[in-house]
């Protein structure tokens, strides 16, 4: 057992007070003249001396009251199992990285959502703490450490990030006091993209800015042609097959299908669902593709002569229209989780010249635009993160002390004993010893 205020134990000398009162205490009672004390003796024929056993019990209770108060002031700490278990749980400040790279969507949702989930889980397992969202978690380390210094017990700062180069550096980690733990949780922020085109050889140039690191890739031309996926009814797909034969003959290349782009024909059963769930284009390559299609004069001429199927609805951005102004094709972004990133809706009949032209234009555009979104960013290496991490250690806070729960029980015991003392005092039938006439006081229990 330890004491938070051991000097208070010197108060045990106060135990002498009830003892002195017991030995020498005198009490002045109200004095009354009465006709005769004869009947009082008849009323209570017990020996006219004080009750020694009850006096001693009263003394013991009074000493116990003083002792309980002194011990409570000394604030004892009992090493209970519950206290140890509680002490194991650290106080945490959880820094969640909210930079751009963390906000980009992945096939599993955004990394920031995963970071928040992890942060909440860590907070639930902590004794106390908070979550701080910052797009510069390294700069927030100093503030987090400052707050943790005012807390008692084990303390830890947690950073949840993708830890791209520049997210954290030595100086920021060194600012955290040695008795505060550092924990770094890395999350993958974006899918690692590889060039859709085979034959990608080397990084042509690299750019690092506040939002991340970008690399430009040199793409070698390969002897194949990427054609989009086709979504349509069975009949439409059969007719499209014939179209691809035509394309093969036209381009004299092997056709390779890319699922990143899909053409949705009018007869596709899920067309309306895809249309409702599609979103606006949001990346550069999608924009480049759109520009390429819009600028394709051959496609525009073919589309002018194409008849749009009546009642056909085109979501997203219109690519081409016919002579009458009816939209023939549009582009939109597929919802997350689909195998396709871009959907090209068309109102041209499968197998028609307009459809063939659209497919050929897409293949040609894909050929010239690398379907890459983000290139692999540069990340802080794992061994560096490992070096920065350390476990929290237990220490006393520099802030105001908390009240020991064990001290409260002793105060409660003192209060209960006060009630017992009062009850004992009232219960004792006092008939004090006969006193000499000149003595005006009597010893009491």
């Amino acid at each position: 057992m330890t004491w938070l205020a051991p000097l208070a134990l010197l108060g045990v000398v106060a135990l002498g007070v009830p003892i002195l009162i017991h030995l020498f205490g005198r009490r002045v009672a109200r004095r009354l003249k009465f006709p005769s004390l004869r009947l009082m003796g008849e009323a209570m024929p017990t020996p006219a001396t004080r009750s020694v056993p009850s006096d001693l019990l009263l003394l013991v209770v009074r000493c116990a009251i003083v002792l309980a108060a002194v011990l409570a002031l000394a604030q004892p700490l009992f090493p209970t199992v519950r206290r140890d278990r509680e002490a194991q749980r650290p106080v945490r400040v959880i820094l969640v990285d909210t930079s751009t790279s963390m906000r980009r969507a992945t096939s599993d949702g955004s990394a920031m959502a995963a970071a928040r989930t992890l942060g909440r889980a860590l907070l639930d397992s902590s004794r106390n703490g908070m979550i701080v969202e910052s797009d510069h978690p390294g700069a927030s380390l100093a503030g987090a450490a400052s707050w943790l210094e005012s807390q008692a017990g084990r303390r830890e700062v947690v950073v949840i990030s993708d830890f791209q180069a520049g997210a954290l550096h030595d100086g920021q980690v060194a600012a955290v006091p040695a008795d505060i733990g550092v924990r770094l949780e890395r999350l993958a922020s974006a899918d690692r993209m590889s060039a859709a085109n085979e034959g990608m050889a080397a990084v042509d140039s690299m750019i690092t800015d506040s939002s991340g690191t970008y690399a430009a890739w040199r793409v070698d031309r390969v002897d194949s042609l990427s054609v989009p996926a086709m979504l349509g009814s069975a009949d439409e797909l059969a007719r499209v097959q014939a179209d691809t034969t035509v394309l093969r003959a036209l381009f004299r290349r092997e056709l390779k299908r890319t699922d990143r782009i899909a053409v949705v024909f009018p007869g596709y059963p899920e067309r309306s669902v895809l249309a409702n769930e599609s979103a606006v284009l949001d990346s550069q390559w999608q924009g480049n593709l759109l520009v390429a299609l819009k600028g394709n004069r051959a496609l525009a001429e073919i589309a002018r002569a194409t008849t749009a199927i009546s009642g056909c609805v085109l979501p997203g951005t219109v690519v081409v229209t016919n002579r009458s102004g009816a939209s023939i094709a549009s582009m939109s972004r597929a919802r997350a989780g689909m195998p396709h990133e871009v959907l090209v809706f068309t109102c041209a009949e499968a197998g028609s010249l307009g459809a063939i032209g659209l497919i050929a234009s897409l293949a040609g555009s894909l050929d010239s635009v690398p379907p890459l979104t983000e290139l692999e960013p540069l990340l802080l290496p794992d061994d560096l993160l490992q070096r920065w991490q350390r476990a929290p250690v237990s220490s006393s806070p520099r802030g105001p002390d908390e009240t020991s729960p064990d001290g409260r029980w002793l105060w409660l015991a003192a209060l209960v004993l006060l009630g017992v003392e009062e009850w004992l005092r009232r219960r004792t039938p006092h008939i004090a010893a006969k006193t000499e006439p000149e003595v005006a006081r009597a010893r009491v229990a």
Binding site: P35, S36, L39, M44, K434, T435
Partner: protein
């Protein structure tokens, strides 16, 4: 009917004679007959019972002993003598604030003296205050009454009560058989007191005991730690009054019951008077029990 004055009011009247007169006037306003009527006679002899004799003069004890009927004959006297035996011990000074038993007893004694003299009889006084016995022989007349009342008024209660000295001496000082009225709280020497009363009654005197108590004596309204001091012995005792109250009250009631039972057993008139009650009321109750209706002889007046 003139309302009876409270004990507080009567006691506040410093002139004891005036206070006594007020008490008596309150008594006379009601249906009251002299309680001492018919006692102003002295036994002379027995004669055989004749048909037509008043049965109240039949000697029942003689009948029980001899199985013969005899009537007692009395010699009429001109006046009756009443001796007031007054307890002036220190215990009668309780309570120190309010109406003390001594003041109350003084008013009762003065009123009784007033009544006796008013009906033409003689009244005397024997007061015990400490070691001092104050004696006035039984006489009639207003001057004697005033002197008696003034004497009572000057006496301070002190010392302790001695039944042998007070009761017996008082009876002895009566030149002939008369009435001995003992006014006291009877707190001390219970057995000796009753023995002396019995002895005096056995000598042919009409004995009555008027026991004066204070409300606080019977109610014991004290709480907490109290150091009581005996007014007569100066003995002190520290008690927890709250715990003592119940047993003390029971002991006090037993004490009163003993007093009453002893008086009844010895054919002595008994009257309990509380200083909280109007003295006129207390006196009336006592006198009515003694007097009864005309012709009825009080059983305790038996002259056997």
């Amino acid at each position: 009917m003139t309302p009876l004055l409270s004990a507080g009011v009567v006691s506040a009247i410093e002139d004891l004679e005036l206070a006594a007169r007020l008490v008596v006037e309150g008594l006379r306003a009601g249906p009251h007959r002299s309680p001492f009527h018919g006692y102003s006679s002295e036994f002379q002899q027995h004669r055989p019972y004749r048909v037509g004799d008043d049965l109240k003069y039949l000697d029942w004890k003689l009948l029980a002993r001899t199985d013969r009927l005899y009537t007692r004959q009395f010699r009429e006297t001109t006046s009756m003598s009443v001796m007031l035996v007054l307890d002036g011990s220190a215990s009668m000074a309780f309570p120190e604030d309010g109406v003390s038993k001594w003041r109350y007893a003084s008013v009762i004694a003065a009123a009784l003296a007033h009544l006796v003299v008013g009906q033409g009889d003689a009244v005397g006084l024997l007061a015990m205050t400490g070691d001092r016995l104050t004696y006035l022989p039984a006489k009639g007349g207003r001057p004697h009454l005033r002197s008696l009342i003034a004497t009572i008024d000057k006496l301070p209660p002190s010392g302790s009560w001695s039944p042998a000295r007070g009761i017996t001496r008082g009876a002895e000082l009566l030149k002939r058989r008369g009435v001995v009225l003992v006014i006291s709280d009877f707190q001390d020497s219970e057995d000796e007191t009753h023995r002396e009363l019995r002895r005096v009654a056995g000598h042919g005197h009409d004995v009555a005991m008027l026991q004066v108590v204070a409300p606080d004596e019977s109610a014991f309204p004290y709480r907490g730690d109290v150091e009581f001091e005996d007014l007569e012995t100066s003995e002190r005792r520290l008690v927890d009054a709250g715990i003592l109250a119940g047993p003390y009250r029971a002991a006090f009631q037993r004490f009163l019951a003993r007093s009453r039972a002893a008086a009844l057993r010895d054919h002595i008139d008994y009257g309990l008077m509380s200083t909280g009650d109007p003295p006129g009321e207390a006196l009336r109750n006592f006198l009515m029990r003694r007097g009864g209706t005309p012709g009825q002889h009080h059983p305790t007046a038996d002259r056997g």
